[in-house]
């Protein structure tokens, strides 16, 4: 293996958290103190992100990527960007780009001008241009035909799949005597519980229930609310049994969804006891002062299984 390839392999292992701690510290320091190393790491990281975005990572590599490089919002944004870039470059490779065409046109014009200066050169250049033009046109036509064929095949596959699904639904409708299949499905063995609050549920006294199973490891809470723009938000969780605050998180950013705003939180399931809680959402002004926005109450129930009472 060449030095460059060996370095790249080491960097990938560093990025995926597979190096021993002393090596990690050494690479951490270099990533800040050595410009060349830092650029190399970022370039390798971009390639890794692109590979994940294109679905080229599989198995343990994919899992390790998700564990290490899909954790923070910034990392997820980079993967989203990579997906868009992959989509754009794929479509441009298929059909050619306006930019590429105009760049080719500019250089073609320039080469024509310089060729005109010499008659022989002009004839040769003109012939070369015509040949290149013919070649490009042929390539484009071939590629277009290939893509059209691919699209037709995919369309046909979708139609077949739709027919199969329709047949299955018809069969199930005929056989069904019980409530919907969803209710009969085996309980999901999810390690994640979800709690979502819409604007209409805040402060109305209506209390949601959060069910935790022994397998539940984390609770994802989504707060959807309507408010003015604050630079940041804070959420405080307090027990309604004794009024004690049990958790808080500040410097939260909300994202827009239509006319509402959304904040997503992740809490370890071990935070919760079987009792009632209240989540208080506060907007933090530019001066750092908290302003009460909404409160959301819910009660926690711990069950040994999904079907137990």
């Amino acid at each position: 293996m060449s030095d460059a390839a060996h370095n790249e392999e080491l960097i990938i292992r560093y990025l995926l958290g597979e190096l021993p701690e002393p090596e990690v510290e050494r690479f951490d320091e270099l990533s800040v103190t050595d410009d060349e190393f830092s650029h190399q790491v970022q370039a390798v990281e971009n390639d890794l992100i692109d590979a994940y975005a294109r679905g080229e990572l599989a198995g343990p590599a994919r899992e390790q990527f998700q564990r290490r490089l899909l954790v923070t919002p910034r990392q997820r944004e980079r993967v989203d960007f990579a997906r868009s870039l992959a989509q754009l470059t794929a479509s441009e490779a298929a059909f050619g780009t306006a930019a590429g065409a105009s760049a080719a046109a500019v250089s073609w014009w320039q080469s024509l001008l310089s060729a005109v200066r010499s008659r022989l050169s002009f004839q040769i250049a003109f012939a070369a241009v015509v040949l290149i033009g013919l070649l490009l046109s042929t390539l484009l036509l071939v590629e277009r035909a290939r893509l059209q064929k691919q699209m037709q095949e995919e369309r046909a596959a979708l139609v077949r799949e739709k027919q199969i699904l329709e047949e299955r639904i018809a069969k199930q409708d005929g056989e069904r005597t019980q409530p919907t299949p969803v209710e009969q499905a085996p309980p999901p063995k999810s390690k994640l519980a979800f709690l979502a609050f819409k604007p209409s549920l805040s402060g109305t006294g209506e209390r949601k229930q959060l069910t935790l199973l022994p397998s539940t490891e984390a609770v994802q809470v989504r707060l959807e609310f309507e408010s003015d723009d604050y630079p940041s938000y804070r959420v405080e969780l307090r027990s309604l049994a004794d009024g004690q605050q049990v958790w808080e998180k500040g410097k939260l950013k909300a994202r827009a969804k239509g006319g509402s705003k959304i904040i997503d939180l992740l809490l370890p399931a071990t935070r919760f006891k079987p009792q009632a809680y209240q989540l208080d959402l506060k907007g933090i002004t530019a001066g750092g002062a908290p302003e009460d926005l909404s409160s959301y109450s819910f009660s926690v129930v711990k069950k040994s299984s999904i079907n137990s009472q």
Partner: protein, 228 residues
């Protein structure tokens, strides 16, 4: 060391003059017009993000604030005792001596800030990557399934095209060609591209990295403006 409930809570902000001194110190004598600061800032944000800190930008600010404060204190000490034989860049507070190496001082400070953040996050349970692996998988897959992602995805693509249109055609073509191929063909494709441009593969990689580092924030800004 200072222990605070939130290490990223800015309790002290540098003055304009102090900030200028930081820039001069990072430049080491040659005026880079703030480029060295910007480069160091990018390195630090990357470092904190790589450590899965959710407040990478805030922790970078904290790092710079501490270094600036340390520079001011050192200057004040030197003014008090000009004959002090100790090297003004001596970072003995951190147990290491760095001879006039701003980058290493920034790194040491950043590492300290990270360790404090990590200890705080352990207490409050903020560290998402301490959750079991299976939960992280569930999180990652759930993030991909979010129903409004489709709308955001379309907007992101539109913004990417918009941002690229602001660049010269050759630059846009460079990006397209650099990211065109995948897997093994990618290496050969890039080698040929570097040859055609008459630059080394390393120089090509750096050029594209810098372009991408400008493109990502452009797209992010465009998406947030359109989805307000």
């Amino acid at each position: 060391m200072v222990t605070e409930e939130k290490v990223y809570k800015r309790k002290w902000e540098p003055s304009q003059e102090a900030f200028k001194k930081l820039l001069n110190w990072l430049d080491g004598g040659e005026d880079s017009h703030g480029q060295k600061y910007e480069e160091m800032r990018r390195h630090l944000v990357w470092f904190f993000d790589h450590k899965n800190c959710t407040e990478a930008e805030d922790l970078t600010d904290e790092t710079f604030d501490r270094v600036t404060k340390w520079l001011e204190q050192k200057e004040a000490k030197k003014a008090e005792d000009p004959n002090d034989p100790n090297d003004p860049n001596d970072v003995t507070a951190y147990g290491k001596n760095y001879e006039n190496e701003p980058v290493k001082i920034c790194y040491t400070t950043a590492r300290q800030v990270y360790l404090e953040w990590w200890r705080h996050a352990q207490k409050t349970g903020d560290r998402v990557d301490d959750l079991p692996l299976s939960t992280q998988h569930a999180l990652a897959e759930e993030a991909e399934r979010q129903e409004d992602e489709i709308k955001v995805r379309d907007q992101r693509l539109e913004c990417l095209e918009r941002c690229l249109k602001e660049w010269p055609p050759e630059t846009r073509a460079l990006i397209s060609e650099y990211y065109e191929e995948t897997k093994r063909a990618k290496i050969e494709n890039r080698r040929k591209l570097a040859e055609r441009l008459k630059i080394s593969s390393k120089a090509l990689s750096l050029r594209v990295l810098r372009l991408r580092n400008k493109l990502e924030p452009c797209v992010k800004k465009c998406v947030s403006e359109h989805l307000k």
